[in-house]
């Protein structure tokens, strides 16, 4: 079955209030258009999972879609803070936000465990830090073979995982390349997976660090050119660093952010610039 769908239909079918949803993409290939669609469909009480919340979760949090955030680095890369996330954590605006905070290595192992169908991941990490005191999802375990102390972190198994990729072929197989982050793990760990893509091609070409996800692990493929903007799609466009800087001003004050949100909710398109 060809999984092609419109983004609005794919999100409408997959994402319900109260679900755990992950939009992954490590600085590169961040599925912004899908995030905006979730905002537009006014989903609420989501648990949002992402290593680097980035602008896309700052927007979802500011729009009041999230109840809980699972993450490992919450800044505006190259710029500074995520003001909407800060406002939610420090002042409960627009709604309180619980956090489940990890390191990148811990999140990466949580993703890998989820993709592998294992209950937890193991790492040499967290030891000597304050994270385990504040994060319920870190435990110390003893290796049954060597007696070494290690940290265990539970698998991530979101209800819905969403990624952006460069290409799909006619069957709906999806290919991404360049910095590949945890997108493969996100798709394989999630119960329901959606990929937005730049374009459909007849045949994939071999690419450095190319990752191909067969159509039968995806529930929907949506053609959304520019769907990663203001992040980027290697080979298609450049990261819009000016927009990341501009977001600092938009997000710093609630009024300016609310204006941005109203524009998004009133329009049907993808509000980037």
């Amino acid at each position: 079955m060809t999984p092609f769908a419109s983004l609005a239909d794919a999100v409408d079918r997959a994402v319900d209030d109260g679900m755990t949803v992950a939009l992954e993409g490590f600085t590169h290939l961040i599925p912004f258009a899908a995030g905006h669609e979730i905002i537009r469909q006014r989903r609420r009480d989501l648990t949002l999972v992402r290593m680097t919340p980035d602008l896309v979760y700052d927007q979802l949090i500011g729009a009041g879609c999230a109840r809980r955030l699972v993450f490992s680095w919450g800044g505006n890369p190259g710029v500074g803070s995520l003001h909407r996330m800060r406002d939610a954590v420090q002042n409960d605006w627009p709604v309180p936000l619980e956090i489940d905070e990890h390191s990148h290595a811990g999140m990466a192992e949580r993703w890998r465990a989820g993709a592998s169908g294992l209950p937890f991941g193991v790492l040499r990490g967290y030891v000597g830090t304050s994270l385990p005191e504040h994060t319920a999802t870190v435990a110390t375990i003893t290796c049954p073979f060597t007696g070494e102390w290690l940290s265990a972190v539970p698998a991530l198994r979101p209800d819905v995982g969403i990624i952006h990729a460069q290409q799909a072929d006619r069957q709906g197989n999806v290919m991404l390349w360049g910095i590949s982050g945890v997108q493969k793990e996100c798709v394989l760990a999630s119960r329901h997976a959606i990929a937005t893509v730049e374009e459909v091609v007849d045949e994939f070409q071999p690419r450095p660090n190319g990752v191909v996800l067969p159509h039968w692990v995806l529930d929907a493929v949506c053609v959304v050119p520019g769907g990663a903007h203001p992040s980027y799609a290697h080979g298609y466009d450049e990261r819009d660093n000016a927009y990341y800087a501009e977001w600092d001003a938009i997000s710093r004050r609630r009024e300016a952010f609310t204006g941005w949100l109203d524009d998004l909710l009133e329009g049907s398109g993808h509000v980037g610039r």
Binding site: T27, W73, S81, E101, S103, A105, R124, T129, I179, G181
Partner: protein
């Protein structure tokens, strides 16, 4: 500051001093911001063979301009190898293949423990900072760690509000905790350089930058700073170093 105009800023001095800490052949896991500027400066100057690794999965990155973020496409374009994020943290970092971890921080204490998570209580923070990212496992698993940050009583504090990344813990705590890397070997600021005492692991001021009196470093430190008996003065940045730094900054994406 010296009375004569030195022709460079304290930030320039810090970046140059941090760059000098790297050598060709070092395999270096690079944090974004100050560490990345310093590491790229080293690669353009005296350490063309330094292997730069970024947590976005770029191994042997050779950016032609200063990357604007950890996942800048310029890091991927010229890398020797590109891998996924779970792999960079497991096969490469946790397996102990990295010589030097190069980190910044919002706060540091006298044992080189780092905070990038919160100012104030965790449950009710005064300032919510970005959080851990790759830092905790970089700090734990690299053979050595170099920290670079601006020196003030806000950053160099008696007690950090949150241990995001372990330095030397409460002293010689790393080995007790089974942490394999040696931990911070140098803290390079815009005023000077501190290195851990070989026995107690408390940071000791060993170098000051040109024109910086030891007393100024003491005043800018939030704990009674230990000072080495023979404090060395850092060499001022050379014309070549300043030129390369200006070119690098001008190239920022």
């Amino acid at each position: 500051m010296s009375d004569a105009e030195p022709g460079y800023t304290p930030d320039d001095m810090m970046t140059v001093a941090a760059a000098r800490a790297l050598r060709s052949g070092d395999v270096c896991f690079v944090g974004i911001g100050l560490p990345s500027t310093a590491a790229n400066l080293a690669r353009r100057l005296h350490a063309p063979g330094v292997v730069l690794i970024y947590e976005s999965g770029c191994i042997g990155a050779k950016p032609t301009r200063l990357p604007s973020s950890i996942g800048d496409g310029v890091l991927a374009e010229h890398a020797d190898v590109l891998v996924g994020v779970p792999e960079i943290f497991s096969y490469w970092l946790q397996a102990g293949r990295i010589d030097i971890g190069f980190l910044g921080a919002a706060q540091i204490d006298r044992f080189g423990n780092l905070n990038t998570t919160v100012i104030g209580p965790y449950e009710d923070p005064t300032v919510r900072l970005p959080g851990a990212g790759g830092a905790p496992e970089i700090a734990a698993n690299c053979r050595r760690v170099i920290v670079t940050l601006r020196h003030s009583r806000r950053t160099m504090v008696d007690e950090i509000d949150f241990v995001t990344s372990i330095g030397h813990g409460s002293g010689n705590e790393r080995s007790e905790l089974g942490i394999r890397g040696e931990g911070p070997v140098a803290v390079i600021t815009d005023l000077g350089i501190m290195r851990p005492d070989p026995t107690s692991r408390e940071l000791v001021l060993t170098d000051v930058h040109p024109g910086v009196p030891v007393s100024a470093v003491e005043v800018a430190t939030g704990w009674p700073l230990r000072v080495a008996p023979d404090v060395t003065e850092t060499d001022a940045p050379s014309a070549a170093e300043l030129e390369a730094l200006a070119a690098l900054r001008g190239s920022g994406g």
